[in-house]
Subunit: 695 residues, 2 copies
C-alpha cells in the first residue's frame, strides 16, 4: 500500500502571507461601518431573522450542500423535494411568516419543487379567485393538501401570451369547460413544479364561448390523482428534461385530450362566464394586474442587487487573497501583488460593487413608489366616502404614476437582471482559473439565475414597451399635454433647452450627472420619435434604437435613484460621514463608468463634450477606483451574506481559500473513490469497486 | 390506471407552418453554394473523413449522448473513460492519423480523460525529450503503456509560471532529483487527466542546483503504480472536484513529499544538468518554444470560429423556425413572424455569423504565416549549407516576423476566445426560453468552452504582451529603426500622415475600412506611449488602456485577414460570384458593426467623422442585415456541422425542433421514472420504486 507520513498533508500550509492575514489587513485599512451599513441595507430585524434561521437550518443533514455539484439530476431533484418538505415542516412547527419561509429558502440556495406552488399558484388563487374558490382551492393549497403550479407558457408560445393554443371551451349544455391541446406546440412547457410534484395547475387557456375567443384566462385543473399521484385520464404530463441550471426544479410539460372541468374551476374574481346566460363579463379594473407585475419587477431589481452582491463578495475577497506577479514598476525584492490591486481587475469588479448598491437602492425606490401608489389607489376606490380622501384628479395622477412606474419597471427589470447575470460571469472570470471550479460558488449561482433574463418578459422584448411609452409621452408633450410625471418633466426640460444646448458639469457636480443622463434619454426619445413619426420608418427597423433608448432611460433611473439615496437625510442619519462618503463615491463610480462606456451616446446628444469624456476615462474613473479600493472588502462585508449561503471556497469570510479548496477536493469529492483501469485494451473501467481506493 | 387514446400524443403535430417547411423556404431563397463553400472552409478531404468517422461512431452504444446532461459526475467521468478507450481501440484498428483521432474526438463532443495524454504529454515528450528519453517514455506513451499528463499549474500559481513552488533539487551524490511540494499552494492543480487516469506526469518544477534556482523545468515523474493504479509512496494525488463544465475530465491535484527521480527524468533536449560537473546548460534557441505557443494560439483562433459556428448554426436555424408575434406594422391577418426577421435578433446573430467566418479566415492566415516561418527557420538552421538558402539577414527578418506573430497571436487568442465564449451565450439567449434547455446544445458547449478564455494565457493578462510589443515597435520607429513588418508599417503610416489627418471612406471603400482600423491601433499606440514614456505614468494605471489597445490591434488583424481572404484570387477561383458577394457582405458587416460598437475610439483617433459613424449605425449596418438575412441558413449550413455533433433539438438540420424537444423530454429523461409523494408531512420522497411510473 502507498504510504505518506501521517498528517503530512494536513500540516502543509499555503505560502504566506495567509489569506486570513490579508483579509484582516483589508478590514483594518478602512473605517466603513459594516454593522450600520448592513442594517441600513437589510434592517436589523431581517439580519436577526436570518441569523436564527441559519442556526436552525445549517446543522440539518437534509440541507447539506456538499454534493450539490456532483449529483445527477434524478438524485438532485429528489433531494430538493426532501429539502422542500423539511422546510415546510419547519415552517409549520415554527409558524414562519411568508418572509421567513422566503428567507429560509434563500439560505438553502436552490429552487425546490415546491417553489411555484408556494408562489404563483397560491398568489394566483388568492388574487384571482372568488371567496367560493378560495374555500375550494386556496385553503387546501395553503395546507398543502393540493400542490399546484402556474401553467402559462407553451412549447410554441412564451412571450406572445395571446398566441397560446390551449383552449377552454364553454359547454352550455352541462355547464363545464373542456380543456384541450389541439397541437403539439400547445403543450404547456417550462411549468415549474409541474414535472413531478404538482397535482393541480392553474392553466391559462383561450376561453371559447359559442365559437368566439375571449383570450387567455386562468382555469384550475387537477392533473394527477391525489392518492396514487399518477396522471389523470386524458392528461399527459411530465418533466421537460435537464437545463443549464435550475435542475432541482421539475419544470414540466402538460397536454390535455379534451378534459372536462366544472364551471367553478375558472378563476372568476375579475372575469366570469355567466352560467345561465352563457355570456362573458369583463374585468372592471385591469390596472390592478399591472400593479402586480410592477411589484414582481421591483422585486427582480432588488434581488438583482443581492445576486450580484454574491458574485462581487466572492470575487472581491478572493482577489484580496490571491497574489500573482509583482507590480511591473515595483522593486524586484517586492512580493507578489494582491490581484485586487491591478487596475484591470478593479475596473471590472469595483463598478459591479457600485452596481449592486445602485440596484439595491433602485429596487427600494420602486418598492416605495409602488406602495405609495397602492395605498392611494386603495383609498380612492374605497366604498367608504370618508376614507377616500382622493378626488378624480388625484386618482388620475395616481394612474399616471402607475403608468410611469409600469412602463419604466419593464426597462429596469431588463437592465437589472442583465447586469446581475452578466456581472456574475465577470466576477467568475475575475477569479481566474479557480472561478471555473464549482467550489467558487459563482458558476452554480449564475446558471440558476439566468432564467431571470428571460422570464417575466424577455429582456430584449421588454425594451419595446419602454420605448412605446416614451414615444407616447413625447407626443403628449408636443401636443401640449404633459402629464407632469418624471418622464414628462425630463422630456420637457430637454425640449425647452435643446436649442441653447446643455453644459453639464459631470466631473464636479453630482446633480449634473443625473441631469446628463436625463438629457441623453430625452435626446434619444425625440430622435426615435423623428424616425417613427416624421420619417415613417418601420417599427422593426427601429427595434435596435428602442433597445438603446430603454437602456438609456433605465440607466437614468438607476443613477437618479442612487443619487437620491446617497443624498437622503435618512442616509445621513443612519451612517457616519466616512461611510456615507464612500457610498457617495460608489454613486460617482457607477455613474461615470456608465457614462464612459456609453460615451458616444452622451457625446452625440450634446450632454457632455469629448474632452469631458476623455477626462472621465483617464482621470475621474481611475481616481475613484483608487479611492474605493481600500474599502472594497468592508463594502462587501456589509452585505452580510453568510458563508453557508455563499457556498464558496473563494469567498470565505476568513480568507482560507486554498485550505478549503483542498479540503473539498479531497474530502467531499466522490470521484476520488474510483480507481480507474487506465489502459485502452482493458474494457473494464475500474480496477476495484468504488471506496476501495486510496486517495 | 390513467388512460389516453393510443397514439394520441404521437399524432399531435406542431401548429403550422412546420419547421421543416420553413427551413426549406429559407434554403430556397438563397443561391449560396453550400457545397463549394463547405469545401473552401474545410477541404473536401476533411469533410469526407468526417462523414466516414460519423458513420463509424454514431451507431456505437458507448458513444450515446442522450444521458450526458442528466448524469452525475462520477458516472459521466467513467463513461467518458469508456469512450476514450473505445476511440483508442478504433484508432488502432483503423490506423487513424492524429488528424483522424482529433476529428473523431471532436464528434464525440466532450473532453475525455485521455485528452491531456494524447496532446500535451505526448507533445512535450516529443519536443523536449532526447532520443534516449523518447525510447524510455515517448514510445511507451504512444502505445498507452504509460498514461500521462502535463502538470504545470499549481493551486497558488497559474499565470505567473516563474512563481511555481514545486522544487526539483539536484542531488549530486546519487545523481537524482528530489521533487517536493513545500507548501499547500505548491500542489499541482487543474491538471487534466491527472485526477484518476494518469500514472505519469510531466511536472514543471523549479530546478535547484547547489542552492541556485534555474527556474521551472520539465521532469517526468511516475505518480501511480502501473499495476494497481494506486498512488506511489509519498505522492498525494486526486481529482479536484466538480466544475462549471469539463466534468468528463479528471482535472487533478498532486503533492510530492520528497520523491526521488533519476537524472534521465529531466527532459533534456534544450536544457541539461551535467551529471558529472553538476552544472546547468541553457537552451540554444528559446524562440522555438515561442513557435509552439504561436501554433497553439493559431489553433485556438481557428477553433474559436468553429465553436462559434456551433452556436450560430443552432440559433439561426431555430430563429428561422420559431415564430412569435406579428410584425408591429403588419396587416392584422398576417401570421406570426419568424423570429429571425426581427432586427433586434438579426443585430445579435448576424454579426456573430460574420465573426465565425472572420475568425476562421484569421486562424487560417496565422497558420500560413506560422508554417512559412517554420520552414524558413528550418532551412536557415539546417547543418547542410546547400539547403539553407537564407543569410543572416533573412534569418533576422524571419525572427522579426516571428516576434510580430508571437506578440499579435496573444491578442488574437484573447479576442477570438472571448468572442466565441460570449458569442455562444448571445446565441443561447437569442433562442429565448428554450435556449436554457440542455437540449438546445448551446449551454453544454458554452460551459465546456469557457476554460479557453483562461488557459494558454488569461485573456486579460495576455493583452499586456501585445501592448508591450506595440510600445517597443513605436519606440523603434521614433528612433528611426523600423523593422519593416506589418506592425511597424502601420505605425509609420500613421506617423507620416498624423498631422494631415485621415479621411477614410469606410462606407464605400473596403480597403479604407482596413486602413481605419490600422489608424486606430496606431493612434492608441502612440497615446499609450506618451502616457508611459513622456508622462511616466505607472504600468498599473495603464493596464486598461493596454487592454483596449490590444483589442483594437486584434480587431485590425481580423479585419485585415478577412479582407485579404475575401479579396483573394483563391476565393474567386473557388466560388461563384454570388456566394463570393455574400462573403464580402459578411466582411463589411463584421467590420462596420465593430466600428460602430467602438465608435468613440474611432472618432477620437480621427479615423472617421461623427457623421460617418451615425451613417454606419443608422444605414450601413441595417442594410447589411437586410442583405445577409436571406442567406443566413445557407451560410450556417455551409459549416456542415453534423446533427450528431450539434446535439441540439433547436439546431436540427430538418427543423423538427418541437418534435425533438418533446421526444427527448418524454423518452430520454429519467426524471420521468420517479413518482413523487408530494405531501410535506410524508417524509418518503417517492410513492413507488422508479420505473413503476406512468408518464
Amino acid at each position: 500500500m502507498p504510504t505518506l507520513p501521517p498528517n503530512w498533508v494536513k500540516a502543509l500550509k499555503p505560502s504566506g502571507p495567509q489569506g486570513s492575514e490579508l483579509l484582516q489587513q483589508e478590514r483594518a485599512q478602512s473605517n466603513v461601518d459594516v454593522e450600520r451599513l448592513s442594517e441600513l441595507l437589510h434592517t436589523k430585524k431581517t439580519l436577526e431573522r436570518r441569523a436564527s434561521l441559519l442556526a436552525l437550518l445549517q446543522p440539518e443533514r437534509v440541507f447539506d450542500k456538499s454534493q450539490n455539484h456532483t449529483l445527477g439530476r434524478v438524485e438532485r431533484l429528489q433531494r430538493s423535494l426532501g429539502k422542500a418538505k423539511r422546510l415546510q415542516q419547519l415552517a409549520e412547527e415554527h409558524k414562519w411568516s411568508m418572509a421567513e419561509l422566503h428567507a429560509a429558502n434563500d439560505l438553502i440556495g436552490e429552487p425546490t419543487p415546491y417553489a411555484l406552488h408556494a408562489s404563483m399558484f397560491l398568489v394566483t388563487l388568492r388574487e384571482q379567485g372568488t371567496p367560493e374558490q378560495h374555500k375550494l382551492f386556496l385553503e387546501r393549497a395553503e395546507r398543502y393538501e393540493i400542490i399546484g403550479c402556474y401553467a402559462q407558457t407553451e412549447l410554441g408560445h412564451g412571450s406572445n401570451v395571446r398566441g397560446l393554443e390551449t383552449t377552454a371551451t364553454w359547454n352550455s349544455n352541462d355547464k363545464t369547460f373542456t380543456i384541450n391541446s389541439p397541437t403539439l406546440t400547445a403543450s404547456k412547457w417550462w411549468i415549474g413544479s409541474l414535472g413531478r410534484t404538482a397535482n393541480h395547475a392553474v392553466v391559462m387557456a383561450q376561453l371559447l364561448i359559442e365559437g368566439k375567443n375571449y383570450g387567455p384566462h386562468p382555469f384550475v385543473v387537477q392533473v394527477r390523482d391525489l392518492e396514487t399521484h399518477q396522471p389523470l385520464d386524458n392528461v399527459y404530463v411530465g418533466d421537460i428534461g435537464p437545463k443549464f441550471g435550475y435542475n432541482t426544479m421539475d419544470n414540466g410539460f402538460l397536454l390535455f385530450n379534451n378534459v372536462k372541468i366544472p364551471h367553478v374551476n375558472m378563476l372568476a374574481r375579475f372575469c366570469q362566464v355567466d352560467k345561465e346566460k352563457n355570456h362573458y363579463t369583463k374585468p372592471a379594473m385591469p390596472s390592478l394586474v399591472f400593479g402586480t407585475m410592477t411589484w414582481v419587477r421591483a422585486n427582480i431589481v432588488l434581488d438583482a442587487g443581492g445576486v450580484l452582491a454574491r458574485g462581487v463578495t466572492i470575487a472581491t475577497r478572493y482577489c484580496a487573497v490571491r497574489r500573482q506577479f509583482q507590480d511591473h514598476d515595483a522593486d524586484s525584492r517586492a512580493g507578489e501583488t494582491q490581484v485586487l490591486n491591478y487596475k484591470m481587475v478593479q475596473v471590472r469588479l469595483l463598478p459591479l460593487l457600485a452596481s449592486m448598491y445602485a440596484l439595491h437602492f433602485t429596487g427600494r425606490g420602486m418598492m416605495r413608489l409602488y406602495e405609495e401608489n397602492q395605498s392611494r389607489m386603495k383609498a380612492a376606490s374605497s366604498p367608504d366616502q370618508e376614507l377616500r380622501g382622493a378626488g378624480p384628479e388625484q386618482l388620475r395622477a395616481g394612474a399616471n404614476l402607475l403608468a410611469d412606474l409600469h412602463a419604466t419597471s419593464c426597462g429596469l427589470k431588463a437592465l437589472a437582471s442583465t447586469t446581475a447575470g452578466e456581472g456574475l460571469e465577470i466576477c467568475r472570470r475575475a477569479c481566474g482559473g479557480h472561478g471555473y471550479s464549482s467550489y467558487s460558488g459563482i458558476g452554480p449561482a449564475y446558471a440558476d439565475y439566468l432564467p431571470t433574463l428571460t422570464w417575466e418578459g424577455d429582456n430584449y422584448m421588454l425594451t419595446q414597451q419602454v420605448a412605446r411609452y416614451l414615444l407616447k409621452s413625447a407626443r403628449a408633450i408636443l401636443a401640449g399635454k404633459p402629464t407632469g410625471n418624471d418622464t414628462s418633466q425630463i422630456l420637457q426640460v430637454y425640449l425647452d433647452r435643446r436649442d441653447k444646448g446643455a453644459s453639464f458639469d459631470v466631473l464636479d457636480e453630482d446633480k449634473d450627472i443625473v441631469a446628463a443622463f436625463a438629457w441623453r434619454t430625452a435626446h434619444l426619445t425625440f430622435e426615435a420619435l423623428k424616425h417613427r413619426d416624421a420619417e415613417q420608418r418601420s417599427w422593426n427597423s427601429l427595434l435596435v434604437d428602442f433597445w438603446r433608448l430603454s437602456t438609456a432611460h433605465s440607466q437614468y433611473l438607476i443613477v437618479k435613484n442612487f443619487y437620491e439615496a446617497v443624498s437622503s437625510p435618512q442616509l445621513s442619519a443612519a451612517l457616519d460621514p466616512e461611510t456615507k462618503g464612500v457610498l457617495h463615491q460608489l454613486f460617482r463610480l457607477f455613474s461615470l463608468h456608465t457614462l464612459e462606456r456609453e460615451a458616444s451616446e452622451f457625446f452625440a446628444s450634446g450632454a457632455v463634450t469629448v474632452r469631458q469624456i476623455a477626462l472621465t476615462r483617464t482621470t475621474a474613473v481611475l481616481n475613484l477606483l483608487d479611492e474605493i479600493r481600500p474599502h472594497a472588502v468592508r463594502l462587501v462585508d456589509a452585505w452580510a451574506i453568510p458563508d453557508w449561503h455563499l457556498d464558496s471556497s473563494l469567498g470565505r469570510y476568513d480568507g482560507k481559500v486554498y485550505e478549503d479548496l483542498f479540503r473539498r477536493a479531497s474530502e467531499e469529492n466522490p470521484v476520488n473513490d474510483l480507481v480507474f483501469d487506465p489502459y485502452p485494451w482493458n474494457s473494464a473501467l475500474l480496477k476495484y469497486e468504488p471506496a476501495k481506493s486510496k486517495l
